[in-house]
Symmetry: C2
Subunit: 271 residues, 2 copies
């Protein structure tokens, strides 16, 4: 791969973190690949120092793990682990959807605003499906669920769930490609949003739960081969005129964030 120079301001550590996790997510760095600091440093045109720090973060996430006595490897993608993470995410999503519904029930203004924001996300989501752009579909899926987390009014839900998204992202592309057209996903999103805006917590929870169980089942059905996979993908994708559209790219929150900005939310007391 060509040497690309990173630039400062988002610190080199953050850039290295993002660059590496992206390469892992889309298979350019296959599971069980040995990661050598020097090699990565050279690839990104920086010293070993920021790479080492980025790897430390990745290791604390569990995205990479130490290999035997020396060095790190890309964590193998373990289907059981993915199911476990889907299950945790389901619980968190249900919590968020329920809270969001309650918030909408409590305040018409919030309901109104939630409706507007949600519908905008739905719109671009449907567009991505229509266009058949896999990466964009993933990005907008992330965006929809992040929207639900935020709509809950509990700012701790999003970062808690994001850890799992970092993993799930590794298999979502595969699943979307193999399974039937994902228009149903966005129909479910539409229904979830409707329940939230209508202020019906039970319905919102139930719908988002079945939505995620659906996704998990789809994963199980299309389980990528145990250890390494997703190789042709990268080559095949290179052809596709490299994402000019800025949201045609999967964006998670930057690794570093402050837990709650001043006045991030008014949040009523928890029942």
């Amino acid at each position: 791969m060509a040497v690309m120079h990173l630039q400062s301001h988002p610190s080199l550590v953050e850039q290295a973190y993002d660059a590496i996790i992206d390469e892992i997510a889309d298979g350019a760095l296959a599971p069980s690949t040995h990661l050598v600091q020097e090699v990565l440093a050279e690839r990104y045109g920086v010293s070993r120092q920021p790479i080492q720090q980025a790897l430390l973060l990745l290791k604390s996430d569990g995205i990479v793990q130490d290999a035997g006595r020396r060095g790190l490897v890309v964590a193998p993608l373990d289907m059981q682990m993915m199911r476990d993470r889907y299950q945790v995410r389901a619980t968190l999503d249900a919590l968020a959807a329920g809270l969001a519904a309650r918030r909408c029930a409590a305040s018409p203004e919030i309901a109104q605003q939630t409706k507007r924001q949600g519908e905008h996300i739905l719109e671009v989501g449907f567009d991505a499906v229509a266009a058949g752009a896999i990466k964009a579909m993933i990005a907008h899926d992330v965006a929809f669920h992040a929207f639900v987390y935020d709509a809950s009014g509990n700012p701790m839900i999003r970062p808690t769930a994001e850890i799992h998204w970092r993993f799930l992202r590794r298999v979502m592309g595969e699943v979307l490609r193999k399974s039937e057209p994902p228009i149903s996903i966005w129909q479910q999103h539409r229904d979830i949003l409707a329940a939230i805006v209508a202020g019906d917590p039970n319905k919102a929870e139930a719908r988002i739960l079945s939505h995620i169980q659906n996704a998990a089942a789809r994963l199980a059905a299309n389980a990528p081969t145990g250890d390494d996979n997703a190789h042709e993908k990268h080559g095949a994708q290179k052809g596709r005129t490299e994402a000019a559209d800025p949201d045609d790219d999967v964006r998670l929150a930057p690794r570093m964030r402050r837990p709650a900005g001043p006045g991030a939310q008014a949040g009523g007391g928890w029942p």
Copy 2:
């Protein structure tokens, strides 16, 4: 504070991480304290390098945050945030308790083993309450809930919840000290365990939920003063013949862990 020398094998980064988070948890480093790498490095007798990396990890946890243009500060302890984290934890604990109950219902052997392990934890927990040892009580409380996470059979729950424990630990001491004797906490633990072993998921979930709501309410009632607090504590505690008993200390999992050891769990497919 005296210069204490850290030793290698648990890497200096990990040791620094633990040392700093401990000082934050028990108030030796008050909220909003400015953290200067050089100072910490000197205090622990290491170079800036491991300190910088430990701070990076702490920052990614949200335990410290950047202060304006330069430097880091200990995150102020925000009561709203604590409530939000309790809420997330409640959901995760309920998930774990429900799953654990289902597992017990499915297999008498597992139920038996869960019962034995759980009762042992209860025993030492009650002892700690009887002895009135605050730090030990916190440690055993952590141990009980970690036990429930593990009993769920979903190994992703524990690390997800542990993030929140790292914060909650900062206020638990305060709350335990101020509120009525925490014997009721351990009675609740006993009841939760009973429901799990009996294989009753609904009851287990309901009980652990009310247990945590209870704890959150206790926190709200004894909210430490907005920004800085817990100072006499450290001085007063110094007298108490520094924890000879190894579990007389709050132990969370080390920051670095592998997500799922080989054969960590057999875990049946999620419904």
